[in-house]
């Protein structure tokens, strides 16, 4: 029997959470060490995925399939070159965030760690699920632990932030749920069998008019999660109010669920609608890039500065993905990982400062590097990685992204470059005001430099930043096949539609669906059936 390695990676944290329920809350150190241990074990197990991943095939690997509820609702997981790294990113960051909250979280340690583990299971589940129902379950279930993490351990406006976060995300995902029902039903009508398997849905060629609505429903859910302008307003609130570890997970992994959703669902299922919306989406990305950057420039709070930089960076990632070519999408995925590392690291750095000063306002700092030389070095690397300095990971990703965009649309590429310029401006300026110059605030003089624990969790990130910047092949080659498969898939379907339009006849579909009058109008269809 094969070892269900993906299920182990997904549910090991959940098992940890269940175990924690039965441990006395007063044994805080035991809980912390155990949590660290479990998260490291999860990471090590997930490394097995990397080393045994076959880069030659676009098919999902480590597939596990089993009956669950029936009628299309099955347990079906697997990973390909796109989801592999997102799973790894999640498992990699979890020990780091647990270490980072070692002393930061003093209250209710037990519940905190339980929610962290539940969150991890939810996130990994989203990336590995190949059944839409399973995907949706993880997608929604993950909201609950995040809701508690922000709401209990957050800052002053935590309740506002957490409710806003949940309601925004729910709005999108509920409409996506309706779209899932609709497709579930279409598939049943066309084939007579129930399925929620996404590969079955890839084979579906949908009526363009239906596609528009479905794309809007899916797209809204993902766009809110990314978040794309103008659905980004929950992000700065959630980031600023969340505890450091929450912000790290939010920025590094949660936002990627949106981009991943576009790649996994919206692109291959609704290619025609995607083409229709590309211009609008491109413009929204550009607005997001510039708006996010400008907002970051004027922030007084370091954390919200980093939060707005996320909006800007995610804009570039989305723009690259919408380029719909190999460079763009690969760059987008690479940049997703980079953004996860660099923004995650920046939040960790902000957290370190906050733990010492209990403030995050830029004006309260100044000259910190004199007191904390080691921290200063780490912070500098993370900041430059986010700016996109050659030799660090951000550069590779951004260059690939911009190549891709340039190939697709030169104007957008030129506008997209502003993300790099703005990033340099707001990050360097922030660094200068916080770390350099004379010490103006006496409090700064009492700052202690990084302790061993803090060095321990920042070091792996920085090593990875250099590695990904200097030798990206390690990572890129494993996603090539999957990404080019995705691009082909979108183009092939697109070709069918153009062909059909040229010959002025409705697109014929050999697999699943036929163009039919009644598919357009649910009401007419209902009448027809009930008669």
């Amino acid at each position: 029997m094969e070892i269900p390695i993906l299920s182990i990676v997904t549910f090991l944290p959940l098992a940890g959470a269940l175990l924690f329920i039965f441990i006395n809350r007063d044994k805080e150190n035991l809980l912390r060490y155990l949590a660290l241990f479990i998260s490291i074990i999860t990471f090590i197990v997930s490394l097995y995925l990397y080393f045994n991943f076959n880069a030659q095939t676009p098919d999902p690997q480590f597939v596990e399939k089993g009956p669950w509820i029936g009628y299309g609702i099955n347990y079906h997981v697997g990973i390909d070159g796109i989801s592999l790294y997102l799973v790894l990113l999640t498992t990699f960051l979890m020990p780091i965030v647990i270490l980072s909250s070692w002393t930061y979280i003093q209250n209710r340690v037990k519940e905190y760690l339980i929610f962290m583990f539940l969150l991890q299971t939810g996130i990994i589940g989203v990336f590995v699920a190949l059944n839409l129902f399973l995907f949706y379950v993880f997608w929604e279930a993950m909201l609950i632990p995040m809701y508690f993490l922000i709401g209990i351990w957050g800052g002053k406006r935590k309740i506002y932030a957490t409710v806003k976060f949940v309601l925004f995300t729910m709005l999108g995902s509920l409409l996506m749920l309706v779209a899932i029902f609709y497709m579930y039903n279409l598939f049943y009508k066309a084939t007579g069998t129930y399925s929620l398997n996404i590969f079955d849905y890839y084979r579906m060629i949908l009526n363009p008019n239906v596609q528009v609505w479905l794309f809007l429903a899916f797209g809204l859910a993902f766009a809110i999660k990314v978040p794309m302008f103008p659905f980004h307003t929950w992000l700065p609130d959630a980031h600023v109010e969340a505890p450091t570890a929450g912000s790290v997970v939010l920025a590094a992994v949660l936002l990627k669920m949106g981009t991943y959703g576009f790649l996994r669902f919206a692109f291959p299922m609704f290619p025609d609608a995607l083409q229709k919306f590309l211009p609008v989406l491109g413009v929204l990305c550009i607005i997001g890039i510039i708006y996010g950057g400008l907002m970051a420039l004027i922030q007084k709070d370091v954390k919200s500065l980093v939060a707005y930089s996320s909006v800007s960076h995610m804009g570039l990632i989305m723009l690259a993905i919408f380029a719909l070519n190999l460079e763009g999408i690969e760059g987008g995925i690479y940049q997703m990982l980079n953004h996860g590392l660099s923004t995650g690291a920046l939040f960790l750095c902000v957290g370190i400062l906050y733990e010492r000063s209990h403030t995050r306002l830029i004006k309260d700092f100044g000259g910190v590097s004199k007191q904390m030389p080691i921290f200063s070095a780490f912070f500098l690397v993370c900041m430059l990685s986010s700016v996109g300095l050659p030799g660090l990971n951000g550069f590779v990703g951004e260059i690939l992204c911009l190549f891709g965009v340039f190939k697709a649309n030169k104007v957008l590429a030129i506008l997209g470059v502003t993300t790099v310029i703005l990033a340099a401006a707001y990050l360097l300026w922030m660094f200068q005001r916080v770390m350099q110059g004379p010490i103006t605030n006496d409090k700064v003089r009492s700052f202690k430099d990084l302790n061993l624990r803090e060095i321990a969790y920042l070091t792996p990130i920085v090593i990875l930043m250099f590695w990904m910047g200097i030798y990206p092949q390690t990572f890129l080659r494993k996603m090539d096949v999957s990404v080019s498969n995705l691009v082909n898939q979108v183009n092939r379907k697109e070709a069918i539609f153009t062909e059909a339009k040229k010959e002025n006849k409705p697109p014929v579909n050999m697999h699943v669906l036929t163009e039919n009058e009644k598919d357009k109008d649910p009401i007419a269809k209902e009448d027809k059936e009930s008669q």
């Binding site: 309601l167 729910m170 509920l174 749920l177 309706v178 029902f181 579930y184 649910p522 008669q531």
Partner: protein
Amino acid sequence: MNTFYALFPLLIIVAASLLVMILEVFFKREDRSYLAYLSLLFLIASAAACVKFWNKGYSYFDGNLSLSNLSLFFCSILIVATFLVILISMKYLTLHSANYGEYYALLLFALSGMIIMVSSSDLIVIFLGLEVLSLSSYALAGLRREDEKSNEAAIKYFLLGSFASAFLVFGIAFLYGATQATAIPSIIEGLKTGSSIGTLGLVGLGLVVIGFGFKVAVVPFHMWTPDVYQGAPTPITAFFSVGPKAVGFAVLLRIFIPYFQDALESQLLFGLLWIIAAITMIAGNLIALRQTNVKRILAYSSIAHAGYLMVAILAKDILGLVFYLTAYLFMNIGAFAAVIALGKKDHEYLELEDYRGIGFRYPWIGATFAVFLISLAGFPPTGGFLAKFYVFSAAVRQGLVSLVIIGVLASLVSVFYYLRIIIYMYMREPAYEVDINYDNPSLFLALFLCLYGVLQLGIFPGNILVLIRQAVAALPFL
């Protein structure tokens, strides 16, 4: 098969209630928990009879009382509901000095009425059952005799309930006039074949909708709900929010799902129910936003859930409806059980303000309550999510996309007020001490059973779904 056995589940309950009444007279004791244990025992016996008769298709009284699988399933969930309600009331009654022996008798009478309703397909018999249920309910609502609110609840329930019953009888009379029948299948047959007078039939069905609309609390027949729910003793509120709703929908299902199979004549009523479903979901959830009393929040939430259940009727989705009711049973009684758990002698904590910091002070109660609320809000992996999933996906299959969009947006609103309770429990610092009575094993058993039910239905619902499919497959009228 026509056999006397078909009466067993009902007879056991009736026998139990009579026995409880008699015993209460002869054994005057302060602690009446022996009555509760006796009732529980009889409930188990009745449930066992239901299980035993599964797939047997027994009937009696010329088929006026027939135990189809669907009836048996409904009987079972009603028995489970009553079982849980007794568990949560045992300590509550002594704590709130309402420990009257007739409590258990009334509860069992109400259950027997409900069993009659779900196992008959004759409207007259159903009406009989409804009256048995209603009269016991009025008395139960006013159980706390010294409490003004409780009295108000009883009177309100009685007055409006009588109106609703009157509408129902009126409707039955109209239907009889139109089709010369009181049995549901014959009525539907008569209405469909057009051998009846169309308008008369429509008016009749409309009046029946009003009658049952009151029982299941859909807007605009919901006015009584918040006050009655708030005033009645909390275990009884839990009972009201589940029992009458389940039977109401069981009857509506028998009437309207076969009726809607025929599209031609039913457009008008379909539209009417569509509107009722939509405004119930919207109004129930929106009004709940403004409430600060937890019982009232749960009252409006139960109104909103009636709206979702109405969607299931419109979608002709029996499976979804039955599954929804099953999940709803566990999560709603669970939620009320958690509310009861936060109580002490002569005092209940019902205002949102009381819930500050409860989650950390009483981690187990807080956590289970949170799970029930999350399930009511429809988050996976709980029963509440799967229930909504089934109902809404069936509705989309029937082309009711706009209704489903209204439904999901309404449930987005509901997320806000369910989470609001959680916010108070976990994210606000307590302002004052909240002492509770911890010595309440039966209540914690009920909490645990509900928690188990919610999670089982959400994660591994396989067995229950198989049972429901069997129940639906053997329907006499489809």
